[in-house]
Symmetry: C2
Subunit: 154 residues, 2 copies
Amino acid sequence: MTSQAPGSLRLNDQLCFGLYSASRALTSLYRVLLEPLDLTYPQYLVMLALWEHDARQVKELGAALNLDSGTLSPLLKRLEKAGLVTRERQADDERSVRITLTERGAALRGQAEQIPSHIGRALGFDAATATRLRESLDRLAESVNGYRDDITES
Amino acid sequence: MTSQAPGSLRLNDQLCFGLYSASRALTSLYRVLLEPLDLTYPQYLVMLALWEHDARQVKELGAALNLDSGTLSPLLKRLEKAGLVTRERQADDERSVRITLTERGAALRGQAEQIPSHIGRALGFDAATATRLRESLDRLAESVNGYRDDITES
DNA sequence: GACAATTGAGTTGCACACAACTAAAATGGG
DNA sequence: CCCATTTTAGTTGTGTGCAACTCAATTGTC
């Protein structure tokens, strides 16, 4: 038995598909909840990161959200265009760009405050289940990323 | 107490972000594993669906994968261009299009057979944990979709 | 100090997702 | 039978994700 049983294989596929479906379902709910704020879910994540700790470099945001500049640069431009953040080159290191909340961007936090309770109700989990699920997902991501890096380093 | 405690709210955000991260991590592993087959993860899902039950309508594939024609139509065109499926209008109902595996498309299943065991090793879960996780994710998706539909019907 | 290597941000190209729309074909109520 | 409604795919436009690339600024090394 070097490989797993067929039933197990199907379960893996189902688990992966379940993860894919659940993620899209949640994003679709966020789309509805974030529509009044004119934010997409990734934009909301960036705003969350900035509300927690303002004036971060693009690099730091990327590290916090696991997103690279290819995704963040255009997204941040849209947030700037929407008047929620400013982008300015650092004087001490001309390579880096600091992202800072505008007054409007900081104020938007007030409108966002009702969202988590919506999500909480939508999930339909008790706190213990939610915690266990989150821990499992964190372990999964770490394990999967490690495995990918292992087989990728050629 | 009409709303949840602050700690709980943060947990929701973390859970959502965990789900988002885990989904992207898994897709990124699939990207590596599927590269030899020249398939993306959504394309792989379509192929899985067809390997399980060939000659399905676009509508049926959409129902199986929760994807609409806006996503499926171009994806299926790419699979057709790659010589993996054929697309033909039904004679009895000219609206619908039947997707059928080509010989190459059916044969690709052989190359895909090693993928689930890779995934199984990458997940690092025992079967029981995987089952519990899958069930939680299924419940989550259903609950979240229900909640979204509830607040959407205006 | 010169210069190769690295770093940080941005650009380009491709493939999803999904809303909103179009168009053709089938259906159903009168 | 007629025509409004519904169904099925497809198209268009926007916003991610991400690989691969560019470019300027910085760093490390000699």
